[in-house]
């Protein structure tokens, strides 16, 4: 039986042809992403603080995050995350029949 050459599929760059941005624009976009997460994801931030090792710094952080979350709840900004979670939970709880 003859040997056959191995067929090579060329390496594909995952981001071939993607558009490039400069560092200033990317830095700004990351800062904005962080700000949006602070505004919309205060609940997760509080959970994260609650899981930090016990200490003076973490106590202060928990207190700040709690105040932050209370403030955002008052102005209704926790609605986004809560609604998404509630919709998914109700879908997850669905059963046949």
């Amino acid at each position: 039986m003859q040997s056959r050459a191995i067929r090579y599929r060329p390496t594909v760059e995952a981001l071939d042809g993607a558009t490039s941005s400069n560092l200033m624009q990317v830095s700004l976009s990351i800062i904005l992403a962080g700000l949006v997460m602070l505004l919309l994801g205060s609940n997760s931030l509080l959970s994260w603080c609650n899981n930090l090792p016990v200490g003076q710094v973490s106590d202060s952080l928990v207190s700040i995050c709690q105040t932050w979350q209370d403030a955002l709840t008052q102005i209704g900004l926790t609605w986004f995350a809560e609604t998404i979670r509630a919709v998914l939970r109700s879908f997850e709880a669905l059963r046949w029949g």
Binding site: A18, S20, S21, L32, A33, V36, S44, L45, L94, W96
Partner: protein, 470 residues
């Protein structure tokens, strides 16, 4: 430190700011990224940082020694020693306890009273991946794919760079080292594509993979005797989708994060469940590992050389690929099933280009058959041991049990996960093109909202990525 956590988010922001502020001082930047990568790795167990450094240093030293001699025999000897040492290191951590167990079993059978003491060895996270990177470097130097040996700093970063350190993709030395030799361009960050990969990866891991694991796959595979045909069948499909979403999510996020630092990694998954045949599957699944096995194992074994040796090489490569996942029979059977399938395919369809001429019906049947062969092998891969796998397969005859784990939600995840395999191959490029008119700052805000949405959708807590254990 797992990607979908706030810890990683904070780590990323600090490293991003530090690395780009040092962009003008190339070597300082590389040193900073090395330090950051060791911090990232040290989060699991700081003691393994010494192992990582030792492996990198050893490979660098062997690379230099190989590059500085032209004596073919000496070069061959050096690369053989380097590869053997790498494999011994990997083998010690992965298989030492297995061999001690076997030794004790033999002693027991011989009526011996002395037991070989059991060593409490913890498998270092990502050891396979950094070992493969090390082997790739010394072999690429030996094969003269690199025009000069890398500096120690470059090797330290090549092996430890945190996005790919613990679960790949396995980036070739000849692909990544030239990038580390150049100064990165702060005007060439492919941020839009990177954001899409990161968001998509987070969704696949946090939502699809995690829910499929907790709501369907884990309970069914834990005790397959309690479930009937339909539960077992959908748990098999569910695992196929789960492992794809879990693993491809990790590499998508790794590729996206690396892109934000100005580096390019190759694609690692290409819609594997639309593969027509197992050869096609292995060109779409964990591409960096399958091509690594091809170039550093299959070809040195003889590759496609004529006669039965081709089939022996295929079988050996797949069996060793299975054994790499763990010293257990169920992994070997997983590799054996793939090896057997590949041999049969080579025998029945020696000319793969003919597949392209099949009618669409024949191609559809071929795709469905390939998917089910892959699913059958996944049962052995996922089962805790061979007994569980046999119990699982035996359960397919239990038609009398009412399905209990299938819900509209898990079914939607499975159907969605499989349907996504048939989206256009250039879907990411299309999405990226559609996103271009959105100002990059607004893209950042949308990414922030997207991350909050994914986090809210996910279950409480994040399971580690499946491939961390290998």
């Amino acid at each position: 430190m797992l990607f979908p956590t706030l810890n990683f988010g904070l780590f990323f922001v600090v490293v991003f700011a530090g690395a780009w502020s040092l962009q003008r001082w190339h070597r300082v930047r590389l040193g900073f990224l090395v330090a950051a990568s060791y911090v990232f790795y040290g989060f699991w167990d700081w003691r393994f940082c010494f192992l990582l450094f030792g492996s990198s240093f050893g490979n660098w030293a062997f690379g230099r020694a190989i590059a500085t001699t032209n004596n073919p025999g000496r070069r061959k000897g050096l690369v053989a020693i380097a590869v053997t040492l790498n494999l011994l290191l990997l083998g010690f951590f992965k298989y030492c306890n297995f061999f001690l167990d076997q030794a004790n079993a033999v002693l027991d059978a011989l009526g011996g009273v002395r037991e070989v003491p059991y060593l409490d060895i913890v498998l270092p996270v990502g050891i396979s991946f950094f070992t493969f990177h090390g082997i790739s470097y010394v072999v690429d130097i030996y094969r003269r794919k690199l025009d000069r040996p890398a500096t120690l700093l470059q090797i330290l970063l090549y092996i430890s760079f945190f996005p790919q350190l613990v679960a790949g993709p396995i980036v070739r030395a000849s692909h990544f080292l030239p990038q580390l030799a150049k100064t990165v361009d702060p005007r060439g960050i492919k941020a839009t594509g990177a954001y899409l990969l990161i968001l998509g990866g987070l969704f696949k891991k946090v939502v699809v993979a995690n829910y499929l694991a907790t709501d369907l796959v884990d309970p069914v595979f834990f005790d397959p005797t309690s479930f009937g045909t339909l539960d077992l069948l959908l748990a098999t499909y569910g695992y196929a989708v789960q492992i794809y979403c879990d693993f491809s999510a990790y590499t998508d996020i790794a590729i996206g994060v690396a892109a934000l630092f100005g580096y390019q990694f190759p694609q690692n998954f290409d819609q594997p469940y639309r593969a027509l045949g197992l050869r096609d599957f292995w060109q779409r699944w964990h591409i960096s590992l399958s091509s690594w096995l091809r170039d550093y194992l299959y070809i040195p074994l003889g590759g496609n050389e004529g006669g039965w040796r081709r089939y022996r090489n295929l079988m050996l490569t797949m069996l060793l690929g299975g054994l790499w996942h763990g010293a257990a029979l169920h992994y070997v059977i997983w590799g054996g099933l793939h090896g057997t399938g590949l041999v049969v395919e080579h025998l029945l369809l020696p000319d793969r280009t003919r597949l392209q001429r099949w009618s669409w019906v024949a191609r559809a049947v071929g795709i469905v058959m390939t998917f089910h062969v892959v699913c059958l092998a996944w049962i052995f891969f996922r089962a805790a041991d061979i007994d569980h796998a046999v119990q699982f397969l035996g359960g397919f005859a239990r038609w009398d049990l009412t399905p209990s784990q299938i819900t509209p939600f898990t079914l939607t995840l499975i159907i969605g996960g499989i349907a996504a395999q048939f989206l256009p191959r250039d879907r990411m490029a299309r999405l990226e093109w559609l996103s271009r008119p959105i100002p990059i700052a607004l893209q950042g805000a949308l990414v922030g909202a997207g991350i909050v949405a994914v986090d809210s959708l996910g279950p409480d807590g994040i399971a580690p990525f499946i491939y961390f254990q290998f």
